[in-house]
């Protein structure tokens, strides 16, 4: 589909002239056992139209029943976002005709969401913290999935026919809506990405969603508007729909700021509309204008009674909440004594859990970090997997470290032992035995090798005798080579100096 190329200005120019205001609507698919209003299983990836009941197909005569687990998950999300929880709330029907919506209305919440008035702190990579206020988090149901066939683009335009899979129809959703986010300035794209990442992390940590953006478990609609600095009134906003990766969220916000600035620069005005994000061109195109035609004719869902929450129930759910991710990070960084940069690297490598477990199993924070961030990460990079998915366990690290501490192997041999473990040869101890890895601790054997090395490099030997103790490294290297690395380098150094009558 050909679309007109949008004019844009450079991001720096845009931000120099205009103050961006953001807003997000993030849809989170809950990982409940069954759907929002029916007993159909909530499972991803099954044969189309197999996880359906008369209720989620909207057959004549059916009635919805609210899924208690979905309500509990929604309350947990609300609590994690610092929201108030409604004592009583209702559902409403949002009405529009579309074939992915079996009843031709979506059962949602309208004027009394279950969670409201919250706030979360979003930390950017350099440690700057923005507080994002949450307007509401409400319960609703997902629509079915349409697949448009026969066209070139996979879009409905040009398609010959469309297929619909109602497995997704009725899956519980929580829609989290922010209040307008002001003051982000040039950090707006970064904040957008960090906000969605934080929501994803929170729902994953709560274990209320699989939180996989590539599967659509977390979907973001990004609202962007610009206004001249100093102006209180918001500009006209655009809503970019279904931006479904963290990188895209950042890019979409950036693009919208550039596009809207270009329009305003020319004295034009921004159209209030929904826009589509295109990953390939990293740009948005116009969807449909928001207008009076968007009349969803909301009215209270007469088939459902209000959801009533008690204080006891909410406190029970609050007591089940895991430690918030941001607090946990702060606590662990302090406990481990890592620098800010060291800790961020650990987090970015996805190794916080592995390191925590390794320390819990008895390793020092320094040892745990050395192994996970060093040898394990290096091998993961080669294997193109996440370090945590390589198959290395905390026990492996502990055992390797103990073998080194006891002097049985040195660092170099430990790396070989790790290779053996990853090759499926057993535990580090088993690998060491099977491969015959052992530090040569027999001084006689070492002295032979030392004599050989000294004979091979007489000039170096003279330098050492002359007081240049730092030259001993070259002789140590020769000994290690001769013993195929199986010597304790520290002991070798001692013996060399002893042999030459030098005190190091």
């Amino acid at each position: 589909m050909a679309t007109a190329t949008e004019q844009i200005v450079s991001f720096d120019d845009a931000i120099a002239r205009y103050d961006p205001v953001l807003g997000f609507e993030v849809h989170v698919e809950l990982n409940t056992k069954t759907k929002m209003f029916s007993s159909a299983p909530n499972v991803f990836g099954d044969e189309p139209n197999t996880n359906v009941t008369p209720v989620c197909l909207g057959l004549p005569g059916v009635l919805p029943v609210v899924n208690k687990q979905a309500v509990e998950y929604s309350i947990k999300i609300g609590l994690a976002l610092g929201c108030k929880i409604a004592e009583s709330c209702t559902f409403a029907r949002k009405q529009y005709f579309y074939p992915d919506t079996p009843k031709n209305f979506q059962t949602s919440q309208y004027d009394d969401p279950i969670c409201f008035d919250g706030a979360i702190d979003i930390e950017l990579e350099d440690g700057t913290v923005f507080t994002v206020e949450i307007e509401r988090a409400h319960m609703e149901e997902d629509a079915g999935k349409l697949t448009h066939m026969g066209g070139a683009t996979g879009r409905i335009q040009g398609a010959e026919y469309s297929l619909v899979d109602y497995n997704r129809s009725g899956i519980p959703l929580v829609e989290i809506v922010t209040k307008p986010i002001e003051g982000a300035g040039a950090r707006a794209p970064e904040l957008a990405k960090a906000y969605v990442a934080a929501i994803r992390e929170i729902v994953k940590n709560l274990d209320v969603s699989d939180a996989r953006m590539e599967r659509g478990n977390v979907r973001c609609d990004a609202n962007v508007s610009l206004r001249p600095y100093g102006q209180e009134k918001f500009g006209t906003r655009s809503e970019t729909k279904n931006v479904n990766s963290l990188r895209s969220v950042e890019h979409a916000v950036r693009f919208e700021i550039q596009r809207q600035a270009a329009l305003l620069d020319e004295g034009g005005s921004v159209v209030q509309e929904t826009r589509h994000w295109h990953e390939d061109t990293r740009s948005t195109t116009s969807g449909r204008p928001k207008s009076d035609a968007d009349d969803y004719r909301y009215f209270p869902e007469p088939d459902l009674v209000p959801v009533v929450t008690t204080k006891e129930w909410i406190e029970e759910l609050r007591s089940q909440l895991p430690e918030p991710p941001a607090e946990r990070r702060k606590r662990l960084q302090e406990a481990w004594g890592y620098s800010g940069e060291e800790f961020r690297d650990v987090v970015n490598a996805g190794l916080m859990d592995s390191i925590e477990e390794t320390i819990a199993a008895g390793a020092s924070p320094a040892v745990a970090r050395k192994w996970w961030m060093g040898e394990v990460s290096r091998r993961a990079k080669v294997a193109e997997v996440d370090p945590s998915e390589l198959g290395v366990t905390p026990a492996t690290i502990i055992e390797l470290n103990e073998l080194i501490q006891s002097g049985k192997i040195n660092d170099k041999l430990a790396r070989q032992a790790l290779d053996g473990v990853l090759a499926g040869e057993g535990t580090p101890t088993e690998v060491v035995e099977q491969r015959g890895l052992a530090v040569v601790s027999d001084d006689t054997a070492l002295l032979q090798a030392i004599d050989g090395a000294l004979a091979a490099q007489p000039d170096v030997a003279d330098k050492i005798r002359g007081g240049k103790v730092q030259a001993v490294g070259a002789i140590v290297g020769g000994v290690m080579k001769a013993t195929r690395g199986q010597a304790d380098a520290g002991r070798v150094r001692e013996l060399i100096l002893e042999r030459l009558g030098v005190h190091g």
Partner: protein, 508 residues
């Protein structure tokens, strides 16, 4: 006419238990009656011969083995075609669903199957239960067994006529604004709208969810109590279903006294607009109740004057939403437009061809009432009136135990008489609608024949929410006194139906 089919369900239950008749004989007798007279009545849209006989045979086999059976086991029943049934078509009286088979049973149907009641078939109705005469059925009108040129009431004209014509001893109906009670009044039968939430709505095709209720259609008050006890009770599949157990309704129907009860005559549901014969029969019932020791007092429910207006905003609003699913995409009939077949055009063509005029009228009305900018004035105001009506009931029931009124302002009108005048048709529900708006239970029983046209008049009893038992207590006493006066059931006075093809006055 076989004498067997003249019996009430309670009597048939006794005969089955005593072995005087088999369930197969009984079911066959009703199937024969349907074959004989339904050509002129058109109460049934589908006759379920094979399955009904198979269930009857099961009952007979179980009984011969001495197995414990539900008292209504083997007693046949007809089901309004708004209630979904596996193995039988469900049309809702609409072309939209012509040929559609439900993959699941309504909760009430599951209960009927569990009790081993043979289902005789599905009965005719106004399309999606929208109407007061059964003339809005896509499959032709049902005729009143008292006079084939008259309507049997609506929307449940099929169930009421089937019971009145002795085609079935029992039937299920649904009542959104009077669709059980008003046909009861028109056909000289008994109909009950239980307390909202008293009977599961799961599997009743929704017209207006906050008003719809399934209930019994029978020839006696006791029979309604028997059926009500079977179908009532909490259903986890219906969130609006009450958690209370069904009260002792049969016991209430057998109490046999009303002495000391205070019965309130609703001032606003009497007098102007009510046919003379209806008022006369209503007065007669009041005198009988007074004679039996009840205290008759007048109460005022001033907001009932606005009930019809509120109903005709709330009902179409909900209906416009509930009927959105009929778009030809997933089930039912699909109509392809000429030319381009976009989804919108297919939905449009399907709904254009699939829905009748009355359904379209209500969808348009409801869509308008819920539109941005009109919601507060229409739907919002109607909900306020609804609250006022509930308060009127609360105030009235603080003074009296039950309320009483005529069920409908007139006796059965002629086929076609009000078809071109929707407002006149709507007015026939003026007395039944308040109960739906407030969720209170109501019962209609025959009060005699109007002198001017010889057609049945209905007497309506209303009780507070959850107090359905009071309806059965008062209804059964009044029924006994009236039948003593008439020397037998009112339906004994109904004209003998000619067997075979339809014969109307005009055709004679």
């Amino acid at each position: 006419m076989s004498e067997l089919i003249n019996n009430s369900a309670a009597e048939l239950s006794g005969k089955l238990a005593a072995g005087e008749v088999t369930a197969v004989e009984l079911t066959q007798a009703h199937l024969d009656r349907i074959a004989a007279v339904d050509g002129s009545i058109n109460a049934f849209l589908h006759v379920n011969t094979d399955e009904a006989l198979a269930v009857a045979a099961e009952v007979d086999a179980a009984r011969s083995k001495g197995e414990e059976l539900h008292p209504l086991a083997g007693v046949p029943i007809a089901v309004k075609d708004l209630i979904v049934t596996k193995g039988q078509p469900t049309t809702a009286g609409s072309r939209m669903l012509d040929g559609w088979l439900s993959p699941y049973d309504a909760t009430v149907v599951r209960k009927i199957r569990a009790a081993k009641m043979p289902m005789l078939g599905k009965t005719n109705l106004d399309e999606f239960a929208m109407g007061s005469s059964t003339e809005h059925s896509a499959f032709g009108p049902t005729r009143n067994p008292w006079n084939l040129d008259r309507i049997p009431g609506g929307s449940g004209g099929g169930s009421a006529a089937a019971v009145a014509a002795f085609e079935a001893p029992l039937a299920l109906g649904t009542d959104t604004g009077g669709s059980i009670r008003q046909p009861g009044a028109m056909t000289g039968t008994v109909g009950v709208k239980p307390t909202y939430g008293g009977v599961s709505r799961y599997g009743a095709i929704a017209m207006a969810s906050s008003l719809d209720q399934i209930g019994p259609v029978t020839r006696t008050v006791l029979d309604s109590a028997l059926l009500h006890e079977l179908i009532g009770g909490h259903d986890p599949a219906d969130s609006t279903s009450l958690t209370d157990p069904v009260g002792p309704l049969v016991e209430a129907a057998k109490m046999g006294n009303v002495s000391g009860l205070r019965i309130g005559v609703i001032k606003e549901l009497n007098g102007e607009g009510y046919q003379d014969g209806v008022r006369e029969k209503f007065q007669e019932s009041l005198e009988l109740l007074r004679g039996a020791g009840a205290e008759i007092v007048e109460v005022s429910c001033p907001n009932f004057d606005h009930a019809l207006g509120a109903y005709y905003l709330i009902m179409p609003s909900e209906a416009s939403s509930n009927l959105a699913k009929y778009d030809g995409v997933r089930f039912g009939n699909r109509v392809l437009p000429e030319g381009q077949t976009t989804i919108e055009r297919v939905m449009g063509a399907t709904r254009e061809a699939g829905f009748g005029d009355e359904v379209k009228r209500r969808i348009i009305l409801g869509t308008y009432a819920l539109s941005a900018g009109y919601y507060d004035a229409y739907y919002g105001s109607a909900q306020k009136v609804r609250t006022l009506i509930q308060r009127d009931f609360d105030a009235a029931f603080s003074k009296v135990d039950v309320l009483i009124s005529p069920t409908a302002p007139t006796t059965a009108f002629k086929l076609g008489e009000k078809l071109e005048d929707p407002l006149a048709m709507y007015l026939n529900d003026v007395a039944t609608i308040p109960a739906n708006l407030a969720g209170v239970p109501g019962l209609s029983l025959p009060g005699g024949l109007a002198e001017e046209d010889g057609l049945p008049v209905g007497i309506q009893l209303l009780a507070p929410v959850r107090e359905d038992a009071r309806l059965y207590r008062v209804g059964a006493v009044l029924e006994t006194m009236l039948e003593e006066k008439w020397g037998g059931p009112l339906l004994a006075q109904a004209p003998e139906l000619a067997e075979g093809r339809l014969q109307t006055e005009g055709a004679k």
